[in-house]
């Protein structure tokens, strides 16, 4: 237990010494035991020998019970200092002789033949045999103390040798342990350097290719990895910090579990007025108004963030100077890798500006709407007035016309008989002129109305429109041979009434200008596509027009024929152009005098083919 905490050097030396010591002691003990055994065996053998000799010599005396002779024999033992006592017993177990004669040592009781060690003495019993008959026993007691002395010397020598060996072992182990402990100590010192200085750039030096070398390598690798990860982490933290720090439009701060400010950024400084040095460590409740604090809002919000993961709300914020602003605050919990709550992040947006901006926008919107309404009302009123104006104008213009016509008619009735032919012709001219004027007024009125009416864009079935228009011209064409060539036309998007007007005007024109033809051919069809719109055409084989004057073709009241050639006010084509332009289309014509005319115009089809 104590051993466990001792330094490795000592541990190694101690273990080596213990090993060496134990081995030496065991060897020593073994050899000692051997030595003792040898010694004992020697003594026993010696005593046995002496015993045998004496026994042989004592047979006669024992047989003849000559205890004096036996005593003499035993006294020969004086020379042998080893044997301190002896005795002969007869076969009955009675003592015969003992040596020393008057020794204080009690006579040895008869034993079995053999030897027996006891209390520093050895007892050897030799039977006295004569003719294979045991006469008695000879006991010899040897003093083992000789052995002791001998052994002492032996032990001393051994001890010295042991001592020297131990010393050598100490020196050797001290030297040898370095091979293990040095690399370990090097590793240890590196580890200590790393942990003390938090310096993960140091590396342990590899010494040798054994397990410690492997350990060193692994250790170095670990340091490498830690170092690298530390760098990555540091870079990432740095990046994050830069990211957060420099944001000036949002407050991004960190709070600890109790709501104390743990980090601060530029936006927070800008909004709240505190520098990070001033504010770190303070509780975030100082950003709340007094009422909110009294109502326990700070704790409540933290609790919401803890339980639901986040809290979001628009609350009043208090700056360093005490002024208030409205902020949209989000408090989100931050978790450790293991999913444990270890703080909060709080992001605040100053929405005072946004609120103001929103209000401004709403106000502007309202203003705009009001203005639009006012303008629309104005326009509607203007339109209405214009409509009313043109209507009343046309009626006011028509009233005198009616009078002209009426009175001319009445004059003609009244003065029929008294008027000359010339006068009657004059009267006729008056009447027809007023009719013309009426027509002009009507056309102008229609033209202006058509320019102002709102278009109602819907799918228009051209085939139906054309069929209806042709039917409407039945009366005008009933006495003529008009062959209508029509083709199926796609559906278009447009104002139905106006599209009808276009076809009415074009077909009326076609009918009018083919009046002089024997066989009238009027064709209506599809001439292709342009810019995603379809090109329609109306072709007639009538009078045609001179392309040199084509630029006037669609002008208001512009005509390319004299009134005595073909009647008309010159508003039909102007209307057509007005309508097609309002449909975002184009209109143009091709013709040659007396070779007929083709009018082209584009409309938006409902399906893009």
């Amino acid at each position: 237990m104590v051993l466990r905490n001792t330094p490795i050097k000592r541990k190694l030396i101690i273990s080596m010494l213990i090993t060496a010591g134990t081995v030496l002691l065991i060897t020593f003990a073994a050899f000692l035991t051997l030595r003792i055994q040898d010694f004992r065996t020697e003594i026993v053998r010696d005593i046995n020998l002496i015993g045998e000799i004496l026994a042989i010599n004592s047979t006669a005396s024992l047989a003849f019970r000559d205890d004096q002779y036996a005593q003499k024999i035993l006294s020969a033992l004086e020379v042998e200092s080893l044997i301190v006592a002896a005795s002969i017993y007869d076969e009955a177990g009675n003592l015969f002789v003992s040596y020393p004669k008057d020794s204080a040592i009690p006579p040895l009781p008869p034993q079995k033949p053999g030897h027996h060690f006891a209390e520093g003495y050895v007892l050897v019993t030799v039977p006295v045999i004569q003719d294979n008959r045991i006469l008695g026993y000879l006991n010899l007691q040897g003093d083992m103390s000789f052995m002791k002395e001998s052994l002492q010397l032996y032990i001393s020598v051994a001890a010295v040798i042991l001592g020297i060996s131990f010393l050598i072992a100490l020196l050797l182990s001290n030297f040898l342990q370095r091979g293990i402990s040095n690399p370990i100590l090097a590793l240890t010192s590196t580890a200590r350097a790393v942990s003390e200085n938090n310096d993960y750039s140091v590396r342990a030096t590899r010494q040798g290719n054994d397990e410690i070398g492997l350990l060193t390598d692994s250790f170095n690798q670990m340091l490498e990895q830690i170092d690298r990860q530390n760098n990555i982490l540091r870079e990432s933290e740095e990046r994050f910090r830069l990211l957060v720090d420099n944001v000036r439009d949002y407050e991004i701060i960190a709070l600890d579990l109790d709501g104390n400010v743990a980090s601060w950024n530029a936006g927070a400084e800008r909004f709240k007025g505190y520098s990070s040095r001033e504010i770190l460590g303070n509780n975030f409740s100082i950003f709340y108004t007094a009422e909110d604090v009294a109502a326990g809002k700070p704790t409540e919000h933290l609790r919401t963030a803890t339980e639901n993961g986040r809290f979001e709300g628009t609350i009043q914020r208090v700056r360093k100077d005490g002024s208030h602003f409205w902020g949209n605050v989000t408090i989100t919990q931050t978790l450790t890798d293991q999913g444990k709550l270890n703080g909060f992040s709080q992001i605040t947006r100053d929405i005072t500006e946004r609120k103001q901006a929103k209000e401004q926008i709403l106000q502007l919107n309202t203003d705009l709407e009001e203005r639009v309404l006012a303008r629309t009302a104005q326009l509607e009123e203007a339109n209405r007035q214009l409509e009313s104006f043109s209507y009343s104008v046309s009626h006011d213009l028509r009233a005198p016309l009616r009078h002209i016509q009426g009175f001319a008619e009445m004059l003609s009735d009244e003065a029929k008989d008294s008027l000359s032919d010339l006068a009657q012709r004059y009267l006729k001219t008056i009447k027809s002129s007023s009719v013309d004027m009426g027509q002009l007024i009507d056309d102008l009125l229609a033209f202006s109305r058509m320019g102002r009416t709102e278009l109602v864009m819907k799918p228009v079935n051209l085939d139906d429109v054309i069929t209806a228009t042709i039917a409407g011209l039945e009366i005008a064409t009933k006495d003529r041979d008009v062959s209508w060539k029509t083709h199926p036309l796609p559906e278009v998007i447009g104002d139905t009434a106006m599209i009808r007007q276009v076809f009415a005007n074009l077909l009326e024109n076609a009918v009018k200008y083919t009046r002089e033809q024997e066989n009238t051919e009027i064709e209506i069809g599809l001439a292709g596509e342009r810019n995603g719109r379809i090109i329609l055409f109306v072709r007639d084989n009538g009078a045609g027009f001179d392309m040199r004057y084509a630029k006037n073709l669609f002008g208001v009241f512009q005509r390319l024929h004299r009134a005595d050639e073909f009647e008309g006010t010159g508003i039909g084509l102007a209307s057509v152009r007005r309508i097609i332009t309002r449909h975002d289309g184009e209109v143009w014509a091709e013709s040659a005098l007396n070779k007929g005319a083709t009018f082209f115009f584009t409309l938006q089809p409902t399906l893009i083919s």
């Binding site: 009233a399 009616r402 009078h403 009426g406 009445m410 009719v435």
Partner: protein, 152 residues
């Protein structure tokens, strides 16, 4: 048979008045046509005021009323007529150049019997006048005078 009743014609345009008279005459209507020049005269006539206080008894069988007149316009006259017990049964035909919805609505709200837009073409104008006059003054049965007695 009751005596032929008068037709009252109210129009501020002398030409239109002359044309209308001519038209009615050519229809050979035996009715007498009283032509008045504006709303004030019409009311004076109907209520037997001013210069018309001595006019003969009896109400017209029909009133052809122009709307756009100075001083007192046609709608005012119509209102007066239709709110006076003695006069309200007299058929009033508005004859005006206005096709405006406003005028139509007001006229019918006031109880006009017919609304004719003066045709711009002379011939059509003549036809319209003849039709209107012919219908109201000849074909239509006017309310018997006894209806007025019960109102008084």
């Amino acid at each position: 048979m009751e005596p032929l009743k008068k037709i009252l014609l109210v129009d501020d345009s002398p030409e239109d008045r002359e044309l209308a008279l001519n038209a009615l005459k050519s229809y050979n209507l035996a009715n007498e046509v009283v032509a008045l020049r504006d709303g004030a005269e019409a009311l004076d006539y109907l209520f037997r005021r001013g210069e018309f206080s001595e006019r003969p008894v009896g109400e017209p069988a029909a009133i052809l009323l122009d709307l756009k007149m100075p001083r007192v316009d046609g709608l005012e006259v119509l209102k007066e007529i239709k709110s006076t017990p003695r006069l309200k049964y007299i058929p009033v035909v508005v004859m005006t150049s206005s096709r405006e919805e406003r005028d139509l609505i007001k006229s019918y709200q006031l109880g006009v019997n017919a609304y004719v837009v003066k045709p711009v073409q002379f011939q059509e104008f003549v036809e319209a006048v003849k039709n209107v006059g012919g219908f109201w003054a000849v074909l239509n049965q006017p309310p018997p005078s006894r209806i007025f007695e019960s109102e008084e």
